[in-house]
């Protein structure tokens, strides 16, 4: 019994990480249909900033989180202005926007990876932070993993609250559902669009900074995270903060229990199995409305 409880907590913690990785992309693609395929690269930049701040100035990685958020938010405004503003404005339909932003994202992906390589080299990097175990329900877990889980749940819930309750959240959803209608009722798309995009980028950076406490980082670390994020937001239902969280946790649990009874090598089979099953039963995702 004890082992099963251990596994359940371990699965939730892994799932929290998946949810965290997806939050930023969910804002950009889920809500605005900007297919930012360079999502993982911005996550990588966040990871490098946290690592760099920690190793050069001994800055506590937790204190680096707000710093990373601000830096990547500003980067987001610049990237939006340079790359996505025109794409978003001139796309005649959502489908065209997705396709065009996908291409822009590919370009960004190569640019950022190579810039990181030039700046920091290709070596694996990492540092030790909160690696000591904490006990939960009699089982031991890495403190940094528990922290990631906490942040993932907190940010998901906060986002859910903002989108559901506040006027800002309604404005964001309106902008997606009917851009013209949103403008007619006075929603300033010129401000909101870049802000939401940049918030997505900033959250990707924060996710990267948190993951740098657990995993080694390198300029090519981003792509698998982009794939994970896409699976999670599709599984949860595009744009749904609650859906992303549940989808992430579900994947984590399935993988943990699945690898326990079978073999870690079957992990991709298990996660894609869940993905396919959900898409067959609910093609628009778990929480699609």
């Amino acid at each position: 019994m004890g082992l099963w409880l251990d596994l359940a907590v371990a699965g939730l913690i892994t799932g929290g990480m998946y949810a965290l990785v997806a939050i930023g992309l969910n804002l950009q693609y889920g809500l605005m249909r900007v297919m930012n395929i360079a999502h993982g690269e911005f996550l990588m930049v966040g990871a490098y900033l946290a690592w760099w701040a920690h190793t050069t100035t001994r800055l506590n990685p937790l204190l680096a989180l707000p710093l990373v958020f601000v830096v990547l938010f500003v980067v987001g405004l610049v990237v939006h202005r340079l790359c996505f503003r025109r794409v978003a404005r001139e796309a005649p339909s959502v489908e065209v926007l997705e396709a065009r932003s996908l291409l822009v994202g590919f370009g960004l992906m190569f640019l950022i990876q190579n810039a990181a390589f030039l700046a920091w080299g290709a070596d694996l990097r990492g540092y030790e932070y909160l690696a000591q175990p904490v006990e939960i329900a009699g089982a031991r877990f890495g403190a940094n993993r528990v922290l990631v889980f906490g942040v993932a749940v907190a940010v998901s819930l906060a986002l859910l609250g903002v989108l559901r309750v506040t006027l800002l959240g309604k404005a964001v959803r309106a902008m997606m559902q009917s851009p013209t209608g949103a403008q007619l009722v006075g929603i300033d798309e010129k401000v909101l669009h870049p802000v939401v995009f940049s918030a997505g980028l900033a959250l990707a950076g924060v996710a990267g900074a948190l993951l740098s406490m657990i995993y080694e980082i390198s300029p090519s670390m981003g792509e698998p995270y982009t794939v994970t994020a896409l699976i999670v937001i599709t599984l949860g239902g595009l744009g749904s903060a609650a859906g992303s969280l549940v989808a992430g946790l579900l994947l984590g649990l399935v993988e943990t229990f699945g690898t326990h009874v079978s073999n870690p090598s079957l992990k991709p089979l298990l996660s894609y199995g869940v993905f396919v099953a959900v898409l067959v039963l609910r093609p628009r995702g778990l929480f699609a409305r």
């Binding site: 190579n114 390589f117 070596d123 030790e128 175990p133 089982a139």
Partner: protein, 391 residues
């Protein structure tokens, strides 16, 4: 400064230096290696820095001694972008149309495997420091020389080390990939010969993010030894997670990556007592110490304690051979195949392309150094056994 910029700097320095000796053409040495993409982490720790350092040292000493004549070395290096196609195309160009004097190998078993037939076709000897696998050796390619110890040697040494300490049971994880499978087979054979029982074994895919379910299972089964046939990111993962779940067997062994300096930086105190694949450290001999110091001075980073020194040994072998027989590549090949060389990791001698002089070795982190602990005649420190508790 990134290594790309550094390389450009080296090449520029060469351009400036070369006209001064215009009567002697430089020796052109070509290669493709990963500077970007997933292989670059390994390639830039273990391999390319050695090429650059070596070329610099050789040129500082007046050039490469080609049967008595000093000629400068000119490295012609390309980024292969961690892409096998690019590796093959680049080497084809270097050997086929550019006709460089010599080549240096790419990084990793897969890339070497892809280039081997080309090296044979064009007749370029290839001294590979980062390729392992019986499959490569069994191809009996006369131009291919593998500097690393092959899986049966490494796993045999590990089994001897365990048996000498009375280990009776082991739990094994292995990466689900050619490297993992081949080493697993070698390990199973070696453990069986020593009557050590494998009480559980699990495979995992490359890029795994959580192995704690497996480690919790192992912990419950309480084996004497944990043996991980792992690749770098996963080597870090099993170490961190074993510490998290409090799985502390008497021997904790992980394969590729334990010898990397970043392993120590990343895992901190937790590395104390962890064993893994290694060959050497600065205490191995004075030449190794000199190499270590030069590497740190040039790149502000330490070489890894396994394949880096094999890469350097390969360059030493090439240098000695060129001095003896010149740049005739057939003669070079024959010389390399039939001579015993003195290198920073001791004697190296090839039989059918395999380095048969370097024994399998087990190393262990002790107080910030990856000490060689097995076999006895190579040991730089006695083994810590049982492994102390995780810190």
């Amino acid at each position: 400064m990134s290594s790309a910029v550094r390389l450009v700097a080296v090449l520029l320095a060469l351009l400036v230096a070369v006209p001064a000796l215009a009567h002697e053409h430089p020796v052109k040495i070509g290669y493709a290696i990963a500077r970007t993409g997933p292989w670059s982490a390994g390639a830039q720790v273990t391999q390319e820095p050695n090429y650059i350092l070596w070329a610099e040292q050789v040129n500082a000493a007046g050039g490469l001694n080609v049967q008595g004549k000093r000629r400068k070395v000119e490295l012609i290096g390309f980024d292969d972008r961690s892409d096998t196609e690019t590796v093959v195309r680049t080497f084809e160009k270097l050997m086929g149309s550019d006709k460089v004097d010599l080549i240096l190998p790419p990084w990793g078993t897969g890339a070497n495997f892809a280039v081997m037939p080309l090296a044979q076709k064009h007749g370029y000897p290839m001294l590979a420091p980062t390729a392992t696998g019986r499959r490569l050796i069994d191809m009996k390619n006369p131009y291919f020389f593998a500097l690393l110890q092959q899986p049966d040697r490494m796993m045999g040494a590990l089994a001897d080390f365990l048996a000498a300490r009375g280990v009776k049971t082991a739990a094994v994880v292995y990466v689900d990939e050619l490297f993992g499978l081949e080493n697993l087979t070698a390990l199973e054979t070696a453990l069986r010969a020593k009557s050590i029982e494998i009480i559980d074994k699990k495979s995992y895919p490359l890029g795994v993010k959580d192995l704690s379910p497996v480690l919790r299972d192992f912990k419950a089964k309480n084996p004497d030894a944990f043996l991980g046939i792992t690749y770098p990111p996963d080597t870090f993962l099993v170490t961190g997670q074993a510490k998290e779940v409090g799985f502390n067997p008497k021997v904790f062994y992980a394969a590729v990556g334990t010898a990397f300096p970043v392993y120590k930086q990343r895992m901190g105190e937790a590395v104390e007592g962890v064993t893994g694949l290694g060959t050497w450290n600065p205490r191995t001999n004075p030449a190794a110490k000199a190499y270590f110091d030069a590497h740190v001075a040039k790149f502000q980073k330490e070489p890894d304690r396994w394949a880096s020194a094999h890469a350097w040994a390969g360059l030493q072998i090439l240098q000695h051979s060129v001095e003896k027989v010149g740049l005739d590549r057939k003669a070079l090949r024959d010389h390399i195949a039939s001579t015993e060389f003195d290198t920073i990791i001791g004697k190296i001698r090839f039989r059918d392309g395999e380095n048969v002089a370097t024994p399998g070795i087990v190393s262990q982190w002790q107080k910030g150094e990856f000490e060689v602990v097995w076999p006895q005649d190579r040991a730089t420190a006695p083994a810590l056994f049982p492994k102390p508790a995780w810190k």
